[in-house]
């Protein structure tokens, strides 16, 4: 197993290297430069040139890339033009917020999605299956940012149950309860689509397993139906559900961009959008590389989990 993990980690290196090249090239190719973005109306060629020089952007591209790469390898992600602070500080702080949001949403959608899928499968074509299928399809069809805005309007503006936006209140203690009240709406809005997808795929995974011989054997042995479903069938179905969860984790992470903007969640998605609009090159590059690295590592973890569950997967 250790060898397998090591192998996977080594194979991630060229992937990460490729990501740095792609991100760097994209930022080099998109029109507009930080100096123009900073100067706006006052971006005369003369002013732009001086500011670009002050920002250290006068060097040839290849040189810029290797300076950036070697600095990054030594832990220096550079300084953001738009926020005037070290990129890594900002990314780590923001990534924490995103992890809280996306993590909660991921737990929510995995838990609810799998349960809904199992119930659907166990009651195939029954009332519960139809009800769940309807709700799930509805959830998949609503864009999360629209759902988020509707939730704000209803639960925050009209009912005043939850704060509209942000992660912490401006005043008062930072308790878990306060965090949860800020988290409830964005995490739910973010989880809805993924819940639907997971529920649909869990349902078909379960249906497939339920048709197999060992289930019939278990039933014949007199195992209680609840035990058959939750212990025997679900365990077997998890082998095909876990990769789905892994993929959905990626969707939740990228979906967080919209949700963070709607709910003003101080996460890495909102940070990247702002940075792109301001042509904050180092911030975009550093942020994307960091998020991509996390995603790659998460996928390795998913693969490892899967191989632990299913010995048929070669280690």
């Amino acid at each position: 197993m250790t060898g397998y993990i090591l192998k996977r980690l080594l194979s991630a290196i060229p992937v990460l290297f490729g990501i740095t090249v792609i991100v760097f090239l994209i930022m080099a190719m998109i029109p507009g430069d930080p100096a123009t973005a900073i100067l706006g109306n006052f971006a005369t060629p003369e002013n732009v040139e001086k500011l670009n020089r002050d920002l250290g952007l006068g060097k040839p591209l290849v040189q810029q890339y290797f300076i950036w790469l070697s600095n990054m390898l030594s832990g220096d992600f550079g300084t953001s033009f738009a926020l005037n602070r070290p990129v890594l500080d900002e990314v780590l702080e923001r990534f924490n917020a995103t992890l809280v949001l996306a993590g909660t949403a991921f737990v929510l959608c995995s838990f609810l999605g799998v349960i809904a899928g199992v119930i659907s499968a166990a009651n195939q074509y029954g009332a519960a299956d139809k009800g769940i299928t309807f709700v799930v399809l509805l959830g998949i069809s609503i864009p999360s940012f629209f759902l988020g805005m509707m939730m704000i309007l209803f639960f925050a503006v009209n009912l005043r149950w939850f704060p509209v936006s942000g992660m912490w209140p401006i005043y008062g203690d930072r308790t878990l309860g306060v965090l949860l009240s800020h988290l409830a709406m964005p995490a739910t809005a973010l989880a809805v689509v993924a819940t639907g997808v997971i529920a649909r795929l869990s349902r078909s995974a379960m249906l497939e397993v339920l048709r197999q011989d060992f289930i019939r054997t278990a039933r014949a042995k007199g195992v209680h139906e609840r035990g058959v479903i939750w212990r025997h069938a679900l365990k077997a179905a998890m082998v095909s559900i876990i990769p789905v969860l892994g993929i959905q984790a990626g969707f939740v992470l990228s979906g967080a961009v919209y949700i963070e903007i709607v709910f003003q969640w101080p996460g890495v998605g909102r940070m990247l959008v702002d940075a792109i609009l301001k042509r904050d090159i180092l911030m975009v590059q550093g942020g994307v590389v960091f998020v991509a690295a996390c995603y790659v590592l998460f996928n390795i973890a998913v693969d490892v989990a899967q191989s632990l569950l299913d010995p048929r997967i070669k280690t």
């Binding site: 430069d33 973005a37 109306n41 006052f42 166990a122 704000i152 704060p163 401006i170 008062g172 003003q264």
Partner: protein, 525 residues
């Protein structure tokens, strides 16, 4: 169906738990306390160092922490004394001598004096200054004419310019001219932008990244301590979310209310504030080639665009129809006799026929957003329809803002016949000088992207820039406006009225024509 039975119980339990949790959370967000004003800003500030920033969003905070040597008189764009009590301009307009206010200290306790003023300008302008590396200072070119700053005595400072430059005083009133504490810059270096210290009505409290900037009342303010205890600036980038926060009571003051949201704030609970500012929204016309090389076709475009409909329908009354290149907010320099081009499609068609430009194909650059651009896509589409109604064939090309600037600023030649543009300036000199003179064509580093050229306008603008007498400057600008309106290098469309909403707990708030946010007289109950 024993399975479903069990699960239903589970579901009910989960539902009850959820309901309880909801109950526990309701009311968790308290109303904003009295004496503390919470402002919904449009973005996270870059830094609180006035020399290092360029965004109106950041200026809104800075104007409350710092003072300049001069400032705009309340409700106007005319300068009055601030940290300088008086000044003297030499006969030839190149030497400005300021007498400084006595007994003013920075928030960090250090004294404000002539040395501090010299430090500020040297830091920005002199590349050898030990603290020049605390930049970059993108707007330092506002003062690029300053050749030296001298300390005459403790309370007298003298600026020498490389030539007469009339906008110098209003540039000093701009945030780039705000005075920072040298001691604080020396202490914090490049981190000064996160540890600001000035002489203004509020002192810096704390900056929680992406959450809030807090400033607190300065009880020793030279111009009288503010009524508020503190102001909290919250960055809320999404306009809908900002509106929702205002409706839910999470903020007391909201700036840049989207036009469509204004109707939410009718009634006694809220006050809507409006203030026309030094802003002009226009279409640059390519006067070098294509149909707009003919002045009659440019005038026709001005007649063809229904500006009333644009400001009232598309912008929901958040702007006024522009008559010429100078916004009326520059009251002293604005020519009140100027009438906007009326909406007259018949006349437009006649002029087009006269010029033989019927059915001309036009390429129109539109941006998706950008500073001061209001609602550029909707406006662009409405303008396209107006121009097609008089027989043009208009093709829109839409670009993201930075890309758009990269296309438009180098000039429209070979690319487009017209482009949207908007400017917000602090002196009536800035925009025409940078965008209407022959010497401001893109190849010479200016923003005259439509290649307008009229030697008479050039002469007037050069003369106004070096005249030190305001009445003389005003006369020159008024004359320039008449000629430019007639020549129609642009379609003059709109002057934006900045807006803000306050809750009924906020008193004594007024927007300024400078678009700055001044909070020292505001009361929050």
């Amino acid at each position: 169906m024993s399975l479903f039975h069990v699960t239903r119980q589970g579901l009910m339990a989960a539902g009850t738990a959820l309901a309880l949790t909801l109950g526990a959370f309701s009311g968790a967000h308290a109303q904003t306390p009295p004496g503390v004003l919470i402002v919904g800003q449009i973005a996270e500030p870059k830094a609180l160092d006035p020399a290092a920033v360029t965004a109106v969003n950041d200026f809104r905070i800075l104007m409350n922490i710092y003072d300049g040597l001069v400032r705009y008189k309340d409700g106007t764009l005319e300068v009055e004394p601030a940290l300088a009590t008086s000044w003297d301009i030499s006969e030839d307009g190149t030497v400005y001598t300021f007498t400084l206010r006595e007994g003013v200290t920075f928030h960090d306790g250090s004294a404000f004096n002539a040395d501090a003023v010299k430090f500020n300008f040297d830091r920005m302008l002199n590349e050898d200054h030990p603290y020049h590396d605390t930049g970059p200072f993108p707007l330092a070119f506002f003062f690029s004419g300053v050749t030296s700053t001298e300390v005459v005595d403790d309370l007298t400072v003298r600026f020498t310019l490389d030539g007469p430059y009339a906008p110098f005083l209003s540039n000093l009133a701009y945030p780039t001219g705000l005075i920072v504490s040298p001691a604080a810059v020396e202490q914090h270096g490049a981190d000064f932008g996160r540890n600001p210290s000035g002489t203004g009505p509020f002192t810096f409290g704390e900056w929680r990244s992406n959450e809030a900037v807090v400033i607190e009342a300065n009880p020793n303010y030279w111009d009288g301590a503010p009524d508020l205890q503190a102001v909290v600036f919250r960055p809320i980038t999404d306009a809908n979310t900002r509106t929702a926060e205002m409706l839910a009571g999470g903020i007391d003051l909201m700036v840049e209310v989207p036009p469509v949201a204004l109707s939410e704030f009718q009634g006694d609970t809220y006050t809507i504030h409006e203030q026309a500012g030094p802003h002009v929204w226009f279409l640059i016309l390519n006067a070098k080639e294509g149909p707009f090389a003919d002045v009659r076709v440019r005038q026709a475009a001005n007649y063809a665009v229904n500006k009333e409909a644009l400001v009232n329908e598309v912008l929901e009354g958040t702007a006024e129809v522009a008559a010429g290149p100078t916004p009326p907010a520059f009251a002293w320099a604005y020519n009140p006799d100027l009438e906007p081009y009326p909406y007259d499609p018949e006349k437009a068609r006649a002029l087009i026929a006269e010029a033989g430009a019927e059915g001309a194909e036009l390429t129109f650059f539109v941006t998706e957003g950008g500073s001061g651009m209001l609602d550029p896509v909707a406006m662009g589409t409405a303008i396209q329809a107006d121009l097609e109604a008089v027989g043009f064939d208009v093709k829109i090309e839409t670009y993201e803002w930075n890309t758009f600037l990269g296309e438009v600023n180098p000039g429209l030649e070979g690319k487009a016949d017209m482009a949207e543009m908007a400017w917000m300036t602090n002196d009536p000199d800035t925009l025409p000088f940078l965008a209407l003179r022959t010497a401001a064509w893109p190849d010479q580093g200016g923003f005259n992207s439509g290649y307008y050229s009229n030697p008479e306008v050039d002469k007037l603008l050069e003369a106004a820039r070096v005249a030190t007498d305001q009445d003389e400057r005003a006369r020159l600008y008024k004359e320039m406006q008449v000629i430019v309106q007639e020549d129609a290098p642009w379609v003059f469309v709109a002057n934006w009225k900045q807006n803000a909403v306050t809750s009924d707990k906020v008193e004594n708030f007024a927007l300024q024509p400078s678009f700055f946010l001044l909070l020292d007289d505001v009361v929050k109950n």
